[in-house]
Symmetry: C2
Subunit: 332 residues, 2 copies
């Protein structure tokens, strides 16, 4: 076993999917890829993109409210609220704070802060919450993820734009619940930092000094081969070590909840796990890669589908810009 | 006492200050405030602003290297690297990842992620590191803060622009050291979210859809009265509860290391603590408010000045956009 064994409960979960559905035909027009190819080669049936009212914090607050209702908690009962978005709604203040205000607890003093590891932000936030539970610091935590990938897509690059969908997900976690995280691993390989990047929006590129340069880097860029070098090649060993830490054989996994990175990545993952095609939560066709929101969205989906069963074992796994790999093995 | 008692050591610390010094005369020209008023009313002697080479990750890596050298650690020895910047260098991937690469450990797999609570990012990251130490998850952690406030200042608002300076700071922390954090509090009041804000750079405002709107919100804005309502009024009770948790009287504090929010905020703080004018680390005149970097920068300064003494007690305290209040009481 290992030092990352933690107990917890999921008191509730919620999601929000933007109202606006983008059809295959609309995606085809934007990208120049044929509708047939979008369906077959990309494995996409539709996308949901946020409108102007569906900000990150608005969607996050909807998902949070659903999770709180399911938990039977009032927002006032929270010990901590963590934002775990891939990209924040605005640089200052963090999205967690904006969500706190939308939940009507903006005078409560309940701690709100953000954790970022791009697509694995939820995995890291979850780990830090479980640490807080183990130490008795918190008993009720809410992690909220909300992402609007459609804000910065480059449709001249179908392979880097068709993947993504928008949305939000929230998980209400409680200490001393029936679940056990048996193992956790997180590994970062910064030499792959250029493989997935959105460069404009921070302190380096400044619209007032060089507007053209700013705009030229204001859409998400991905180098598929570099992603594979940085993460795909390392994945088998990473997974083997995670499972070894957990004491669980690959065959003994009952369910796999992956980050919905891409159709190809999901296919690759399914093939690498015995029975993977049956065991893996795959909502990619309709929902897409929602950056940090993907993992908790898929977890919520699994709960709704009745696929989280007491005593069974789930692998949560994913990769993120960084490049990082992250995974957890959970016994429900 | 309380459940936040933690032990740790500081193995090393480092800072980086941009090469370019901005004179009083240059600040006067930018803001229209007289040089005399900048010196007297604002209490400023100079500012340091980053040039194009001095990116957040470049400055952060310099500070990190100094901290590692002082610790006698190789970068490879780290168990975790946390970026705790007020605003990231770019939205994807996080600044921690870019710093990992610059430290030459971009193939190491050492976990790198970011924590954000604007000016209190270091305080929250420090808390999460101490949790990791207490659970035996990590033994050597590096927290790196780097901020370039000058990237987004509105000089037509002297009271919201003169405050700030750029720079970076890194603290190398180890488990089981001689120091004790006696108490920790962090409180967020999201109803003050509009008091300090930088709106452009995330998922909400989109340069491709509304460039004018984007640019109009691409500089930091502050409403001094709203800041006071959200944080100043709550500060006395917050401090009293923090000190009560620690079991330390205000009079017994040997040193105060505050976030260098503004000259007025520092003056207010000094007056609220017996002997505050002697006990408080104040580098505001030369260094300014470096957002998240301020607290660890002031901590490094205190170490260099020989003001961290075994057995003595220090209050670390600050406020951030959010509005959040954060504080820790440390027995060295």
């Amino acid at each position: 076993m290992n030092s990352r064994l933690r107990s917890f409960g999921i008191a509730g979960s919620g999601t929000y999917l933007p109202r606006h559905q983008v059809t295959i035909d609309a995606l085809a027009e934007l990208t120049g890829v044929t509708p047939e190819s979008i369906r077959k080669a990309y494995g996409i049936t539709k996308r949901h993109w946020a409108d102007a009212q569906e900000t990150s914090s608005a969607m996050g607050a909807y998902a949070a409210q659903e999770a709180l209702e399911q938990a039977g908690w009032r927002a006032e009962d929270l010990d901590v609220l963590i934002g775990a978005c891939g990209v924040m709604e605005q640089p200052i203040p963090g999205t967690s704070v904006l969500i706190q205000r939308r939940l009507g607890i903006g005078d409560s003093g309940i701690p709100a802060f953000d954790i970022n590891a791009t697509c694995l932000s939820f995995m890291v936030a979850f780990d830090r919450v479980l640490a807080g539970f183990a130490l008795g610091e918190w008993r009720r935590a809410l992690i909220v993820c909300a992402d609007i990938a459609s804000a910065a897509l480059d449709f001249s690059k179908p392979e880097a734009s068709l993947l993504f969908g928008d949305g939000a997900a929230a998980i209400a976690l409680e200490a001393d619940g029936p679940h056990r995280r048996l193992a956790y691993r997180f590994a970062t390989f910064g030499n792959g930092a250029d493989a997935c990047r959105l460069e404009a929006g921070g302190t380096r590129l400044r619209p007032h000094e060089d507007l053209e340069g700013f705009l030229a880097h204001s859409r998400f860029a991905m180098d598929g081969r570099a992603v594979f070098r940085a993460s795909g090649q390392r994945f088998p060993e990473f997974l083997a070590r995670l499972l070894a830490d957990s004491g669980i054989d690959t065959e003994a996994l009952d369910l796999v909840i992956p980050h919905q990175a891409s159709g190809a990545a999901l296919e690759h993952l399914k093939r690498s796990i015995p029975g993977g095609h049956v065991k893996t939560i795959d909502i990619y066709a309709d929902i897409g890669n929602q950056i940090a929101t993907s993992l908790p969205f898929a977890l919520h989906h699994a709960r709704q589908q009745g696929r989280i069963k007491s005593g069974e074992t789930t692998l949560m796994i994913g990769s993120s810009a960084g490049i990082s790999l992250g995974g957890a093995v959970i016994r429900w």
